[in-house]
Symmetry: C2
Subunit: 343 residues, 2 copies
């Protein structure tokens, strides 16, 4: 009798550990409240010793501004879609992040931007790749999702579509920032010295992203990026690829990634986090941990992600020295973090 009880308990434990189907939301560790907004401004080798107090404060202030703008919409009963757009536009419009104004330069000295959005309620998605003249790429992704039969558009065709939809354009002078141009020159001289074209030498990945949960329980995710400094050949990274850098479904979670895009594409990172939750019953935190800290680390894939489920549980997970990140919800003020040791 005692033996049987033991066997039964063991079986139940195994079942709970390895497989909870469907996803049960039993792990409430990170839960603070239902209205939730999480953001990132890129992961990478962001080290305290390389940062001035002034610059650090600029980053923290801008992340807070983005969180507060998005949360004001959620708090007023607005949609997670509108909250994500509001947060990302503030980061796109800031020269601090590698998205919109502040986007890195391609090998040809241009700014080519990518963005994607996904609606966790409807399963609809939109993405643009390699656009140069649209001020806010995240809005171009929204237009693709809402006003075209397509999910993904690229290059001049995507720009034509976005302009037809009435989006604001900006010229190369707007996108020019001195520190990004200096980054390009450094990358070019490094490549000339090594004889290699190595897009991974610049290990500050300044992609921005946001995921929100609104009063209707709907999750929405968005990501926007300038890609990698000195990129060539019309390279497309993970940010505009649904399933790689951006994904959302109410049943599991919404996700936005930042990092060495090629690794994130090959590992289909965003969808893998959702699939682990859906098919094994793991929490958003455990699923993010498994993908970022085990699977990606095992492949030397540097970066991080933010993920949020429909109960407000979330993960801000990265395997780099730092990730610009933050969250805000019903219980508190905007909380922003940069380095690994902040919680």
């Amino acid at each position: 009798m005692k033996k049987l009880f033991g066997a039964l308990l063991f079986t139940i434990m195994i079942t709970n550990n390895s497989c909870q189907e469907p996803y049960s939301n039993e792990d409430q560790i990170s839960t603070i409240g239902p209205l939730t907004l999480i953001i990132h401004g890129g992961a990478g080798t962001i080290l305290r010793q390389n940062m001035t107090t002034e610059l650090e404060n600029e980053y923290r202030d801008k992340l807070k501004e983005a969180l507060n703008a998005g949360y004001a919409i959620l708090d007023a009963g607005g949609s997670s879609r509108d909250a994500v757009i509001a947060s990302i536009i503030i980061m796109e419009d800031s020269p601090l992040f590698n998205a919109g104004k502040g986007a890195v330069f391609t090998s040809e000295g241009k700014n080519e931007m990518d963005a994607a959005v996904m609606d966790g309620n409807t399963g609809m998605a939109g993405a643009v790749a390699g656009i140069k003249v649209i001020k806010n790429p995240i809005l171009a992704a929204i237009e693709v999702m809402e006003n075209s039969p397509h999910v993904m558009m690229s290059g001049k065709g995507a720009e034509t579509f976005a302009i037809e939809q009435g989006l604001e354009t900006a010229d190369s002078a707007y996108f020019y920032t001195q520190h990004r141009y200096d980054q390009l020159l450094r990358a070019k001289s490094r490549d000339a010295a090594t004889g290699l074209h190595n897009s991974f030498t610049d290990t500050k990945f300044g992609t921005v992203g946001a995921v929100a949960l609104d009063k209707s329980g709907n999750i929405f995710a968005g990501t926007s990026t300038g890609g990698t400094t000195n990129k060539k050949w019309g390279r497309i990274g993970d940010a505009p690829i649904i399933g790689a850098g951006t994904y959302a479904e109410n049943a599991t979670c919404g996700i936005s990634c930042t990092g060495a895009g090629e690794y994130f594409i090959r590992s289909v990172v965003a969808h893998d986090v959702a699939a682990i939750m859906r098919y094994t019953g793991k929490s958003v935190r455990d699923a993010a941990e498994e993908v970022v800290m085990k699977k990606l680390v095992g492949k030397n894939g540097e970066g991080g992600l933010i993920a949020l489920d429909r109960k407000g549980n979330f993960a801000l997970t990265f395997n780099t020295p730092g990730m610009y990140r933050g969250y805000i919800n019903e219980k508190g003020r905007a909380k922003v973090m940069i380095y690994k040791d902040e919680e």
Copy 2:
């Protein structure tokens, strides 16, 4: 005591039904032999009553030719990579399929092609989107995978890279086929009549793809397409998106999809099949069935896929009236099928 036994057995049954981790390959239903090559030439509204005997024979002969060419490589101890390339090139070079010569026309009267490959052994991948001048797009995807630090390139940049790698170019006269041009004219007059731009009115999806398993037990997958007739705005479909239209990992399976690309992108179809196998222990056949016949059908997502695991089990699954498809392995001659009622 009896009650406890019952509870214990019930728990074990639940565990076995809902979760087998890791993927165990217990389902051998489709197994015929280890060396295996499967291909498709597109899914869609392919109906017997609309086909002449002559045209049907042309399709069957070309599919057999593609299978035999790939299998000869496997049989001689060659790699799954080389087998997939050989099969796809034969379909790209034929005007019968919507890939390479035979690619459909964009709204601007051009041929813009996409392709992707993934190596199930190394996890490496390559893809190109929106290329016009490379004779065999599948080779451009191979070059991206093997000779660049990137996974995905697009447009003129991708062409520049492919030409730098020495790939053969072709001009618009080569890609011109009368029946595809007539399709464009029909699509344009339909759009003019309805006032809509509806890329889904052309429901023959002629994308081509191949997945092979070689003597080393390595899986390789590839997909090549011209996209959809009358496409605009630099639209990118699922074929070149790793995780959506193309995916491979030895631990689960290799996959190539064909269908209404937007649905396949939003559902991250190829990776979802692999994730179901990995996280629930289902067979390649059951996983493909769940994604194509349940999930996609539930969203009105038309199309199909071919999937092959490391034991030679495979699925050729589609929810449309037909899919050009076939397989060849150690036990038999090339077998090709077109309509739903063929097995």
